[in-house]
Symmetry: C2
DNA sequence: CCTACCGATCGGTAGG
DNA sequence: CCTACCGATCGGTAGG
């Protein structure tokens, strides 16, 4: 039996390459503005060869986003398993989130996950919604233990405000001119934990 | 002399209609995924008629984003002119920003401005960058007077973190299930001004 | 994985 | 503002 180069769990180094390069282009230009020919030209294969590995262009996006979600969720679960003090846990969650959002090895997948949701297939959307709910629950627990998220007042989802502050950095944070993702992460954590430094 | 229906400063109710409906579709589906035919079908004209009013599809986007910027900047300038106490000024800036971001009469323009920057023409990008710098400066002044943004530590642009928290609400805030934009705005202002409510 | 190609759709134009 | 249409490009397929 010949080994299939298609399917999900295979070796597929070419497949990985298409995912990696596709993720980069999706992040830079957006899903709709990226063509199969953009991707295959960067990989160095004919445009038709894409479909030896993926059923459609959207399938590539789905998989890129799934991988982004896996990275982000696995990291948070690992942090929670360390059973740190709540304040240290929050600081670490913020740190890891910011790192995954900006490190070259992960940012393409995570940014696409966050900013290209609209283009995902319905199936991927549903699957990712469940994982995202789990991710949010981890943050909510952490914030609740710090009394930063209490059911009081108006049911404000503080963790989502925090996500916004962090995720938006993908739009403006520039490598040299701005503080590093890690420094910024610590400042955000400090702002939340110690309040405004008077 | 016949009056031209083209050009910028004209009456052009049809032109306005294309802008309004275009803005709505750009927000919902994104610029690339919206076709000229989507827009004209919703307006109720032939697809070719678009180009009596705009030179290109991108011109529509440019104008939509410009209008979004005008709304947001004019509102902030008006707030600053009222010369409120700094805390009240910040609260009002947040209120107005959230309203423009969620009110049906403005949100399409503002959300497109914020989330479709990538697709803008180079000229529009440059023009909007200048206006945005002005907008940011207003917020920075306000935050500085409250000692919420000090040049200390690591040059953290607090106003951009705040923008992220606010702008991200466009992705998750749902009319009925969640607090209203105004309630949320007040909570965010309270969180910043009074610190975490112990 | 390649070459050759197809049907559909897109932004935009022409001529009235 | 309409009708008719065009050239380009796109995602995807066929056959090897």
């Amino acid at each position: 039996m010949k080994k299939k180069s298609n399917g999900r769990g295979m070796q597929g180094s070419r497949r990985q390459e298409i995912l990696r390069i596709g993720a980069g282009l999706f992040r830079e230009k957006g899903f709709d503005a990226t063509t199969i020919r953009d991707i295959t030209a960067a990989v160095g294969i004919g445009s038709g060869s894409t479909f030896c590995h993926f059923r459609s262009k959207r399938d590539i996006l789905d998989e890129v986003a799934r991988h982004g979600m896996d990275l982000v969720l696995a990291e948070a679960e690992a942090v929670v398993r360390r059973a740190l003090a709540p304040a240290e846990q929050l600081r670490t969650l913020i740190q890891r989130h910011m790192t995954l959002l900006h490190d070259p090895s992960s940012r393409d997948f995570v940014v696409v996950l966050l900013f290209e949701q609209r283009a995902l297939s319905a199936a991927a959307k549903a699957q990712l919604a469940a994982s995202m709910a789990r991710y949010e629950a981890l943050w909510e627990d952490c914030l609740r233990r710090l009394n930063l998220s209490q059911k009081g007042r108006a049911d404000v989802p503080v963790h989502r405000l925090l996500f916004g502050a962090l995720n938006w950095t993908a739009h403006w944070l520039r490598p040299v001119a701005d503080p590093s993702p890690q420094v910024l992460a610590d400042e955000v954590a400090g702002l939340l934990l110690n309040g405004i430094p008077g």
